[in-house]
């Protein structure tokens, strides 16, 4: 069991179709350190169902840069879940 002082505070943001289906644009989570993007996704799925619209391996951005699911996260990070891009 991790205490709050050892937990990482991560803001998860949803966009476009994800935001529409999940019904919110962001959620603030606490995950035990050390943690990766994948750990944050697992916590997100527990915290705000229904999240089946978010695929198992979504495109993710940590602090404005695309990252892999294995990327470590740090306290205060913003993790964005990006639906398939459709600009241009």
């Amino acid at each position: 069991m991790t205490t709050d002082s050892a937990a990482l505070r991560i803001r998860v943001r949803f966009f476009a179709r994800f935001a529409e289906v999940v019904g919110r644009e962001a959620i603030d989570l606490r995950v035990a350190a050390p943690a990766t993007v994948a750990d944050v996704l697992a916590e997100m799925r527990r915290a705000c169902p229904p999240t089946d619209v978010v695929p198992a391996k979504p495109l993710c951005a940590r602090n404005l840069s695309q990252v892999s699911l294995e990327e470590p996260v740090a306290d205060g990070d913003e993790l964005a879940l990006l639906p398939p891009l459709a600009g241009g």
């Binding site: 404005l64 695309q66 459709a86």
Partner: protein, 149 residues
């Protein structure tokens, strides 16, 4: 630099941004709203973005293009409600010679599509709407649930 625009895009100001006496070639690309997608009639669409990241990513793409080729690049992407025929994206690339201008312009639009977090929700002639998913069969995602529409 604001790469995202709620206002209609104009190519003239973008060309003016990059033109110079020593740059003899200007290549431009304008992507406009098509009236059809995957066999369905499109009457309009809405673009939305993860604005902070989209601005950052556009800035990176312009810097990378200007590092790879001896060019100057101007880039804008529209957000909000658009009608058929309106410009969604506009790019102007100036260089001393056409070869670099064409190459960089092509590279910029492909990188934008691949990297910039922008989403498109199309409105169809039959009254329905859908998020466009270029990776999905049929090109759209249903508004609810996980299967392509």
């Amino acid at each position: 630099m604001a790469f995202l625009s709620e206002a209609p895009l104009e190519l003239g100001p973008l060309m003016a941004e990059v033109q110079a006496p020593d740059r003899g070639g200007v290549a431009c690309f304008v992507g406009t709203v098509r009236d059809h997608h995957a066999g369905r009639g499109v009457i309009g669409l809405a673009y939305s973005a993860y604005a902070e990241m989209a601005e950052t990513e556009c800035e990176r793409i312009v810097a990378e293009a200007e590092g790879r080729w001896p060019v100057r690049v101007a880039l804008r992407h529209r957000l909000g409600e658009l009608s058929v025929g309106e410009a969604a994206v506009a790019i102007a690339v100036a260089s001393a010679h056409r070869e670099e201008a064409f190459a960089a312009c092509r590279w910029v639009i492909e990188e934008l599509k691949r990297r910039v977090p922008i989403w498109k929700r199309e409105r169809y002639a039959d009254g329905t709407e859908a998020w466009v998913d270029p990776s999905a069969q049929g090109g759209t995602a249903s508004l609810r649930g996980g299967k392509p529409g």
